[in-house]
Amino acid sequence: MESVKPILEFKKTCVSYTKQTMAVKYVSAAIERNTITAIMGPSGCGKSTLLRAVNLMHSLYPNIRVDGEILLNGENILSMEPIDVRRRVGMVFQRPTPFPTMSIYDNVLSGFALNGIHLSKSKKDEIVESNLKNVALWNEVKDVLNKKGTFLSGGQQQRLCIARALAMNPDIMLMDEPTSALDPIATKHIEELLLELQKKVTILVVTHNMGQAKRISSRSMFMYLGELIEYGDTETMFSNPEHERTKAYLIGKIG
């Protein structure tokens, strides 16, 4: 079978906060297109750190070093301008953060405003409508687009944040525990949404919820103390993990 070029590839990626301690140690993995890959592991295993390296969030903090390579469509993002990388990589955080001073309409388009991209009114309307439809929020807010997003429920706010990231047409979406601040029903809606979205965009999701990983991801990574212990098909990993550590995590012995 011909190998489709992976959309994202980690090559011996290391992230360190100080000279002595590495939070992420020599992670190598290739992420396939249009999949949902879950990154799991106990707290402090480096999963969020690894995720945030992909859109160069660490460049905000001068004491963080990233070594090795992270290839996005073959290009090493570590030698690219952060702004360029972030236009191609979308991120959704744990807590929904609609911009409080902007309306729902403007929130969806905020990526463009922040990048200094001007659009015609008709193009703007089109982007807002299609992305809100993509996150199944359109019907709920189409009459209140001019209101600020803060009155929406947690789940709706998170969907707004996903729409906002999607509007930039990223190659890959990074999600850092996107449902851990939401109630179970909102979580269910987001999970269904992600399953739909993977047809359009590749998703990398950090989660501490094993059930979620099982429900939505086709591939899974298990990390422990900064190392990538196991990476494979979710099904296989859950039913027949190769490594002792993975097994211990999955049955609740660690983490």
Partner: protein, 288 residues
């Protein structure tokens, strides 16, 4: 025996409570005393002509007193002067102050920013009369004369630290997730600050500006050797100009114009207290 001791301690406790309550309430008294006095002495001076006419000459005032009439004239020259000086000061202090506060918030770890922060505190503590002297030396002397410009430079220097601090503090309180979400969308630091952070900080910044204005609007000393004062309404900015606090000082020093003190003071006091209360109210509202 033990019972006695406990009673004793409980009595001391009650005494402490009452002392604190009494003295705390007493501190509220001066506010109402001052307010009341200025109100009582000044309310019947307030009239349309009081706000629209300039100050009378000592001669006119003397004649009116002799004739047993109310002194003609008012404080219009002071009101116009204050407005002019204040607007010029605000136009410079607000943008510079916000930009400087943003600098301090964005670079809080760097040594240079710490030095600037330290110096901002220093400027904030400079006595107002010294700022008057400095502005005299740097503006009045080179310009060879007193002017509204000099007055506004002095007030601007006094407003700067307050605006800088409130901008810096409001920005620092914003959740980091806001900035990160903006950056994650690909915005550069400038755009994230201009479109996300500063708008979110607007409430705190605006309150800070209101408070800075209320602080300088009643200042007399810095204007004494810069704007100097003027007995008629003047619209030009490079000549001596009046201001409400300066007028009050003039009235205080002139035996014939004593009556006018209270109307002017009432006006000033109401203005300042309204600004203060509005700032407090807005701060509370925006913090919800």
């Amino acid at each position: 025996m033990a019972n006695q001791k406990i009673k004793h301690r409980l009595a001391k406790d009650k005494l402490m409570l009452w002392t604190i309550c009494i003295f705390a309430t007493l501190t509220a008294v001066p506010l109402f005393a001052i307010l009341g006095e200025v109100l009582l002495r000044g309310y019947d001076q307030l009239s349309w002509s009081f706000f629209t006419e300039p100050t009378p000459t000592a001669y006119k005032a003397m004649k009116a007193i002799e004739a047993g009439e109310r002194i003609p004239g008012g404080i219009a020259n002071g009101i116009v002067g204050t407005m002019i000086i204040l607007s010029m000061a605000v136009v410079v202090a607000v943008p510079v102050g916000i930009l400087c506060g943003t600098f301090l918030a964005e670079n809080s770890k760097r040594r240079f920013a710490k030095v600037i922060s330290y110096l901002t505190d220093l400027v904030q503590g400079i006595p107002s009369v010294i700022i008057g002297i400095i502005t005299y030396i740097w503006v009045v002397v080179p310009m060879k004369g007193y002017s509204a410009i000099a007055g506004s430079v002095a007030l601007c220097i006094m407003m700067l630290p307050l605006i800088i601090r409130s901008t810096e503090e409001t920005l620092k309180i914003l959740p980091a997730s806001l900035k990160e979400a903006g950056l994650a969308l690909g915005g550069n630091k400038a755009r994230v600050m201009l479109k996300i952070q500063l708008p979110a900080a607007f409430g705190g910044i605006f309150t800070g500006v209101l408070l800075a204005i209320s602080r300088v609007i009643g200042e007399t000393a810095p204007l004494m050797f810069t704007a100097l004062g003027c007995s008629f309404i003047r619209w030009s900015i490079n000549k001596p100009i009046s201001a409400v606090p300066l007028l009050i000082w003039e009235f205080f020093n002139d035996p014939h114009l004593q009556e006018l003190i209270w109307g002017a003071s009432l006006f000033l006091l109401i203005f300042v207290l309204t600004l203060n209360l509005s700032a407090k109210y807005l701060a509370k509202k925006w913090n919800q």
